[in-house]
């Protein structure tokens, strides 16, 4: 019988003892897509994580060897499906680099406008789903989710009036863009981004005045600068860990050198730092869109106009690696062309693939609830991870 006089406090010693293997399976409510993490737990603390991916492996790289340069950009959207134009841009830029195809200035500015609008839309979705993960789908978390989706729908309306599709477009082609902006689009775009600019301030104050949000985001998931570079993560994760590297500054593509914008860098390395980086990126993207709309030059939208989807563009032998600063980091397309209408080999350097590779290094030591916050702040899109 328990002698309560001597044993007033009962202690459990877990170290080296009971370890539980728990599966955070491919279907789970933290709406990031098909990701499976096999967690080894000691009590509530995670001591090991094995990330199983590949549930969305759709054979992009093999399929690209069977599709022409005109057919593939629509399929390329489906890698990073939240910011679809980023991936298209990487593929199209790689083909243009090998073929030495010039892109007219108007097309370059249109590309910049679309890329920055995609960045705003993608960060809105990130903010909504991250807060929903941390707050619970039916609890308070859906608040920020519904607000952000409301704003994102406004941007998707702009894309719909331009391209015809809301989420996955075939807007870019080798040599420029496929469509030109219709009348009144620029005015509508300006109104939309002014509205979003005003509302982002509201969301920031909503979140940062909330002590629960701060407790869940600060100090969680710290990525050191050395780990960040070693693993190869990029984008807001890298800039949240103190490395001042943005492809739009370091290796400007598509006329980014004509625009003035700041690159936010935070040294915290935790979820809160990455959140701050993305919130500042909202405003910088909006500033870039304003500058581009003001200075949009007239001219052709493509150096190869009239390219239908069955046209054959032949790219001469060569190889190129084109990188684009997507909302998640460096999206790259390593293309080897062999003179025919189809590439010989195409490799996607997916930003989320490298970003996810950091998870087994930072998660051990945290609790299960922190995994959700970290996954959200890493912001993976599984089309890019599994390709």
């Amino acid at each position: 019988m328990l002698d309560t006089a001597k044993t007033s406090k009962v202690e459990f010693d877990y170290s080296g003892g009971e370890r539980l293997t728990m599966n955070m399976g491919p279907q789970h409510p933290s709406a990031h897509g098909v990701f499976r993490a096999i967690l080894t737990l000691e009590g509530e603390t995670i001591v090991g994580v094995d990330a199983v991916i590949g549930y969305l492996h759709r054979c992009h790289e093999k399929l690209s060897e069977t599709l022409t340069y005109a057919q593939y950009p629509s399929i390329a959207s489906k890698t990073d499906y939240v910011a679809a134009m980023t991936s298209e841009l990487a593929y199209v830029m790689a083909a243009e680099q090998i073929g030495k195809i010039e892109v007219p200035k108007r097309a370059q500015y249109l590309r910049v406008i679309m890329a920055e609008l995609q960045r705003v839309a993608s960060h809105l979705l990130w903010l909504g789903t991250w807060c929903m993960d941390m707050g619970g789908a039916l609890g308070g978390g859906a608040t920020v989710f519904l607000y952000c989706i409301r704003e994102r729908e406004l941007i998707l309306d702009l894309f719909e009036s331009l391209v015809g599709a809301r989420l996955l477009y075939g807007f870019y082609q080798v040599g420029g863009t496929r469509y030109d902006i219709p009348d009144g689009w620029a005015q509508k775009c300006r109104e939309t981004i002014n509205l979003i600019d005003a509302r982002i301030g509201e969301y920031e104050s909503l979140l940062e005045d909330n002590p629960f949000f701060l407790a869940r985001a600060q100090g969680v998931g710290v990525i050191s600068r050395e780990l960040a570079e070693d693993v190869g993560i990029a984008g807001p994760l890298l800039r949240g860990s103190g490395v001042n590297f943005d492809l739009r500054r370091a290796a400007p593509y598509s006329s980014y050198e004509d625009f003035t914008f700041n690159v936010p860098v935070e040294t915290g390395g935790d979820c809160f730092a990455r959140y701050r980086v993305r919130m500042v990126e909202f405003r910088e993207s909006i500033a870039i869109v304003r500058q581009a709309l003001d200075r949009l030059p007239d001219g052709a939208i493509s150096s190869r106009p009239g390219l239908k989807s069955v046209a054959q563009i032949r790219i001469p032998k060569g190889e190129a690696y084109a990188r684009v600063e997507g909302p998640r980091g460096e999206v790259g397309c390593y293309l080897i062309a062999d003179g025919s209408a189809k590439p010989y080999r195409m490799k996607w350097r997916g930003a989320s693939f490298s970003n996810l590779a950091v998870l087994p290094h930072i998660i051990p030591g945290h609790k299960i609830a922190d995994v959700v916050a970290i996954m959200g702040s890493v912001d993976p899109v599984f089309g890019e991870v599994d390709r």
Partner: protein, 160 residues
Amino acid sequence: MTREQAKALIDERFSSAQVDGDAPTSAEATASRPIVVTLPVDQWTAFAQFAKTTLGCRFFSFSSAVDWKEQGLEVVARIDNLDDGVGVMMKARLGPGVSACPSLVPVFRGAEWMERECYDMFGIQFEGHPDLRRMLLSDDWQGHPLLKSYAVDTPHPPYR
């Protein structure tokens, strides 16, 4: 560390490497082109270590492979020096029929997942990799899809 300095350092240290073998292939500015280094396979890890310590290329971008049908496989890796904007693209041809390559995991931790994917897609065994198993396909999958001998619509009963 400019591009020219880096090239000079590579030339003096790795004389058997071919630096920037062909003419410029891209329309982008000369300064931001990567330094393309073609190496023999046994210097793969040594060169990566040299690039990380001496050239300051600490950012591991990606590593992959290419199947040149009769000439065998070729492994490719790209590492960057973020502060100076110098990129190095390393390539090494494994001979025909060879599918073993030293691993970059002791030098860069990001190579772990990239090399697992290379093994999955091409069948390249990386020596020194701590945990080489399939990444994107199921563990019991037969065949390595990205080899040119594998058809894109290979059936897999009963789902296909």
